[in-house]
């Protein structure tokens, strides 16, 4: 779960990381009031979960009330690469002497936390890693011991932090590690981590991802995330506990098991189609869950044809067939379906579907055949065209 900058900064502040005073607002009026409160000059920052806000004109400096109003008006509602700006973060502008970079993440390969630090802040860290890897310190932390202050000082020194701020940077690294650990984050990143002319070390931006599986032990964090910009069907799916990811094609997909669904998307794409979604109906789906899933897929009006790809393990194919039949009774879909049932109780499932005589439902024996049929149907051709 990715957090907006201001949500990340709230977590930073909770663990003693220095951030500028500021306020999150959603109207021009509140933006001006916030700017007056924090004191000019202020920075007006678009809150969206996408990089490159500055280049897109989503981050502006305001010297007075008039400019604050102007910028708030222009940025609110702005579209930044598909993300609509609904929230602004107004903070007192900081004077910057130097820009550093710091992050803590879960290194899946080493199976340890990793602290990264560089004096090349304010630019894409991937670029630093590629062009001047010697300027990026990567330090693995013993997950069972945590990051000691001595280690943090060493990281700051090794990374080349100015001698007079080594202690300040070390404090920031220790606090950032604490954010990562205590909040069950998978990533906590500050870019830039600035040094002010007064030699204060401060987080000017915040990029935090939290582990959705750990939210149960963080009631305070459960309301975070950019729900306003979430795909409405993804949000509905989440509420229903269904794994759904919106994609931009026109072939609706339902399968059981994340790997099989990912594979189904690939096979549909290889057949020349474009998947409209990822939907994992999960293990042991019953008829009610299948019906619910069909409703989610069809809530996307771009969908021109739907593919059911089921390989029943715990999931029973007859249950899936019953769910589909129930869904057809209620929803009466106007788009064609291709259904491939294999595995547990597949024969019964296929028989049920045949008896039900559902309009515009086409059986397929294999995954590849199913993909070709659904792609033909989505393109307005007959299933025979697939053969």
């Amino acid at each position: 779960m990715d957090l907006l900058e201001y949500q990340g900064k709230q977590l930073f502040a909770r663990h003693g990381l220095e951030v500028s005073a500021g306020r999150a607002v959603t109207t021009v009026q509140d933006a001006v009031a916030a700017a007056n409160e924090v004191g000019y000059p202020v920075v007006v920052k678009a809150q969206v979960l996408i990089g490159g806000r500055g280049k897109a004109g989503g981050v502006k400096l305001a010297a007075d009330e008039e400019q604050a109003r102007e910028h708030a008006q222009s940025i609110l509602g702005m579209d930044i690469r598909g993300h609509t700006v609904r929230t602004l973060w107004i903070e007192h502008a900081s004077d910057i002497a130097t820009e550093y970079y710091a992050s803590v993440l879960l290194d899946r390969s080493a199976k340890q936390p990793m602290v990264m630090f560089s004096v090349e802040g304010g630019v894409e860290i991937e670029q630093v890693a590629e062009e001047s890897p010697e300027k990026l310190v990567r330090h693995h932390v013993d997950a069972l011991k945590g990051l000691s202050r001595e280690e943090a000082v060493e990281i700051a020194r090794r990374g080349g932090a100015d001698a007079d701020v080594v202690e300040g940077v070390a404090d920031a690294l220790v606090a950032l590690y604490e954010v990562w650990l205590a909040e069950d984050a998978t990533l906590a990143e500050i870019n830039p981590l600035i040094v002010t002319p007064e030699r204060q070390v401060k987080a000017l931006d915040a990029k935090v991802s939290l582990d959705g599986n750990a939210l149960y032990r963080h009631p305070d964090n459960q309301g975070l995330s950019d729900s306003e910009n979430e795909d409405p069907i993804e949000r509905r799916a989440k509420e229903q506990g269904v794994q759904y990811v919106a994609l931009d094609g026109d072939v609706g997909i339902l399968g059981n098991g994340a790997g099989l669904v990912m594979s189904t998307l690939d096979v549909v794409a290889q057949a020349g189609g474009s998947p409209a979604n990822f939907l994992d109906a999960g293990g042991g789906s019953d008829a009610a869950k299948v019906k619910q899933a069909v409703e989610l897929i069809l809530a996307n009006d771009k969908v021109k044809a739907v593919l059911f790809n089921i390989f029943g393990g715990i999931t029973r194919c007859d249950e899936v067939a019953r769910g589909l039949i129930a869904a057809f009774e209620d929803i009466k879909p106007s788009v064609p379906f291709v259904v491939r049932l294999d595995g547990t109780n597949d024969v019964q499932g296929r028989e049920l579907l045949q008896e039900a005589q559902l309009p515009n439902v086409h059986p397929a024996k294999t995954m590849n055949e199913a993909a070709e049929k659904v792609v033909a149907l989505a393109a307005g051709k007959s299933v025979e065209a697939a053969a």
């Binding site: 879960l106 199976k111 069972l144 599986n213 594979s263 998307l265 294999d342 995954m367």
Partner: protein
């Protein structure tokens, strides 16, 4: 032979008294797995269709001598259950539970490494292990697989059934099917399991089924080129997955430009591993290699 589980497996199940836990435990027993007990705190002394329940892993270890643990408890209790089983001396822990926090997995992985280096963890968020004809621990539907010489290791459950079933329909069987799970910090990696298959005399071909996220497939490619003489066929799911989106599994996410399916397939092919573009093609390649080997033996 097979890997990890077989006739000498003595299985004990944490969460056996739950609905899912009892269903799958009994299923495993029906297959022939020797189930010696279950662990549910507060329910010691009860039984599930004759299988004794113990209050703790220590009790279970003392009274039933399990060598294999299966974890079926809810996510918030799973980490401690895994560590308790290891502390009680169980050598193999298979964690089916989905939804364990990543930080807990990190703690479990590193604690096992430091304090219980002799315990191997498979999973979490995995379908378990099946050694056809010998033992089944977990939720893999055994009816799709027969005994044979293909070793399968996979991050996904249903995708494994899909590939295994196609191999079975072509007349070939499996030595063992090992689900390593779809989480960010799995207890066992592709490399760990491939090492076992390489050493297993029954296994003649290895199928690796990977997906987006992390770099376990790239590490496997390197390992295979240096240490594996048996043929390996691979499949990678998620070519069409957009960056930054978690595709069902907690670990299936492309971060920036890292962890893409294309990079994984390229890494494997660069080391001489054949990568099938569809599950069907994977099975076809496997059958082609096995068929050629069988033919050569006959001639």
């Amino acid at each position: 032979m097979s890997v990890l589980i077989d006739e000498v497996t003595r299985l004990c199940v944490a969460g056996m008294t739950g609905k899912e836990g009892s269903f799958h435990t009994l299923n495993n027993r029906r297959y022939g797995t020797n189930v010696v007990g279950g662990v549910t705190p507060g329910k010691g002394g009860q039984d599930v269709e004759g299988i004794p329940v113990f209050d703790s892993w220590a009790d279970a270890a003392a009274q039933a001598q399990p060598n294999t643990a299966m974890i079926f408890v809810p996510p918030r209790f799973a980490a401690d259950s895994i560590l308790e089983a290891a502390a009680a001396g169980v050598e193999l822990v298979i964690a089916i539970t989905e939804g364990i926090p990543a930080h807990d997995e990190l703690r479990v992985y590193n604690t096992l490494k430091r304090d219980h280096p002799d315990t191997r963890l498979v999973g979490p968020n995995c379908p378990g292990i099946l050694s056809p004809g010998k033992a089944n621990v977990g939720i893999i539907p055994a009816s799709f697989f027969s005994e044979g010489n293909v070793g399968v290791v996979s991050r996904s459950g249903t995708l494994t059934y899909q590939i295994g079933n196609e191999i079975a329909q072509a007349g070939f069987g499996c030595s063992s099917i090992v689900g390593i799970g779809g989480d960010p910090v799995p207890g066992s990696s592709f490399v760990d399991i491939i090492e076992l298959f390489q050493a297993d005399p029954q296994t003649e071909l290895i199928v690796l089924s990977g997906e987006i996220g992390g770099s376990a497939e790239e590490e496997a490619a390197q390992y295979i080129s240096e240490h594996v003489s048996k043929p390996v066929v691979a499949y990678i799911a998620g070519f069409t997955a957009p960056a930054g989106k978690q595709m069902g599994h907690a670990g299936a996410i492309v971060s920036g430009s890292a962890g893409t399916a294309a990079a994984k397939a390229d890494a494997l092919e660069a080391k001489g591993v054949r990568v099938g573009r569809t599950p069907t093609e994977v099975a076809q390649i496997a059958v082609e290699i096995l068929g050629a080997a069988t033919g050569a033996e006959r001639s």
